[in-house]
């Protein structure tokens, strides 16, 4: 029997998935949450070295949108794609991944922690939803 390949394994697909995730996060955050996020972290760069993927979440008081990655981003979250997926699907919490050194957050300080925490649950929910949407629409090989 031929091995079934993951329909979302390519970097391009993963970027699209993350872009959809950001769109879904935008729908989940209230106006005041968006405003707080934009004030504390107007730009969050997400880096997934194993998937060769980087993208930027740009936050304004009006909306969250995808922006191109930059060289010296002030706030960077770096992890493996599998770390994000394990957390989104409840296989391993982000806390456990953090303790194991699988998540690196550059630029974090106590002034920003609250806004970052505010983003965690919507992010995991949105990634899971985006993944399920894409899996449902992907053709079975």
């Amino acid at each position: 029997m031929a091995a079934r390949t993951d329909p979302l394994s390519a970097a391009g697909d993963f970027s699209a998935l993350l872009a959809r995730m950001i769109g879904l996060i935008d729908e989940k955050l209230s106006a005041s949450q968006r405003e707080k996020l934009a004030a504390a972290m107007p730009s969050i760069q997400w880096e997934f070295p194993d998937a060769d993927t980087k993208l930027c979440l740009a936050a304004t008081a009006q909306a969250l949108r995808v922006a191109p990655p930059v060289e010296q981003a002030p706030f960077v979250v770096r992890m493996a794609r599998s770390t994000l997926e394990d957390a989104a699907f409840g296989r391993r919490s982000l806390g456990a991944a953090f303790l194991a050194g699988r998540i690196h957050v550059r630029g974090m300080n106590p002034l920003r922690l609250r806004e970052f925490i505010m983003l965690v649950d919507p992010l995991l929910d949105s990634y899971r939803e985006a993944h399920l949407e894409r899996s449902a629409s992907a053709p079975v090989p």
Binding site: S93, G95, A96, G101, N109, P110, L113, I117
Partner: protein, 334 residues
């Protein structure tokens, strides 16, 4: 780098009679309030004209604990109003809200002691005019404060006078430091700002590197197939590491590195050379700047005013079902 050493005070520098007949109010009966209250009462109770140690607390569980320990318990304001010396032992971040009422209750000529320089250094409180403002900041956790007092060993503290209204602020402070059990070991003179910056800097600049090094060593070793329990033993569970720290304090940091055998110093020193210390130092400078400039205090006050919104997340990370906690539990069941 040419900063002079601060003054070091010992029992011989304190006048034990200075607290005779005074009323000492312990404001807050928590991590520090309980051991300091008990130490002061034990030290001063035998005097022919003993000082009276009372507790001020508006928190029901703390009040109950203080009563169980045999103290007269009053509200914070009532205790402050009868105090010759009031010890402000409430959490740093709540002091600004409570200070106006407590300050208004204090009598001119009394002394207000802070166990941390935080609220003073960041100007979050304004103690009333006519009151001494003194600092006695133990460098030891509550349990150890009590145990080391009972053992007669004492413990390090930082002491300082921020304002001397009574003319005897230093005498009162050193009397309290001695009766509280610190001066058997010794107390260093510090300003409130120096105390809080030292405390927060080591917590935030050194602590996370030490924690991260420990976690990384554990996970790298465990992923490579080393026994998790053996890793924890090497790192802290056997007590060897805490003995090493005790040895550093006793024999000196560098001399202690030579007492673990040549293999340990040969391997450790050569590996330490390859660590990017400049990167580490740069991060530490940034942290120090945020602490000195007050932005950390601003974040902590904001967290308090908003009902500690970050606490559930931090508690969840610490309380998560991780391999280290499971390994510790397995060991304790053995």
């Amino acid at each position: 780098m040419n900063v002079p050493h601060p003054r070091l005070f010992r029992d011989r520098d304190a006048d034990p009679g200075v607290l005779r007949g005074k009323t000492i109010a312990i404001l807050g009966y928590g991590l520090l309030g309980q051991p300091l209250g008990l130490n002061l009462r034990d030290s001063l109770g035998g005097d022919p004209e003993p000082a009276r140690v009372i507790v001020g607390s508006d928190d029901a569980p703390s009040s109950q604990r203080a009563r169980a320990d045999g103290f007269d318990v009053h509200s914070l304001v009532d205790a402050a109003s009868v105090a010759d010396i009031a010890l402000m032992l409430l959490p740093d971040e709540v002091q600004p809200d409570l200070m106006p009422a407590i300050g208004a209750a204090l009598r001119p000529g009394s002394s207000l002691l802070f166990a941390s320089g935080y609220a003073l250094a960041y100007r979050l409180v304004t103690p009333p005019e006519g009151v001494d403002v003194i600092l006695f900041a133990p460098r030891m956790g509550g349990e150890a404060i009590r145990q080391r007092f009972l053992d007669g060993r004492g413990y390090m503290a930082y002491v300082g006078v921020e304002r001397d209204s009574s003319g005897e602020a230093w005498k009162r402070l050193l009397g309290l430091a001695a009766a509280g059990g610190s001066l058997t070991f010794g107390a260093l003179e510090m300003t409130a700002k120096q105390e809080v910056v030292l405390d927060l800097f080591v917590e935030q600049a050194f602590g996370p590197w030490m924690g991260a090094a420990l976690l990384s060593a554990f996970h790298v070793g465990a992923e490579a197939g080393l026994p998790p329990l053996g890793l924890l033993m090497e790192l802290y569970l056997s007590g060897e590491m805490s003995e090493t720290f005790a040895q550093m304090a006793r024999d000196g940091f560098l001399p202690s590195t030579l007492t673990h055998g040549f293999a340990a110093s040969f391997g450790g020193m050569t590996r330490a050379l390859s660590i990017d210390r400049e990167q580490m130092a740069e991060q530490m400078r940034g942290i120090l700047s945020e602490i000195e400039g007050g932005s950390f205090a601003e974040a902590l006050q904001d967290e308090y005013k908003n009902g500690y919104p970050c606490r559930p997340f931090l508690d969840k990370v610490v309380g998560d079902d991780d391999i280290i906690s499971r390994t510790e539990q397995d060991y304790r069941r053995m």
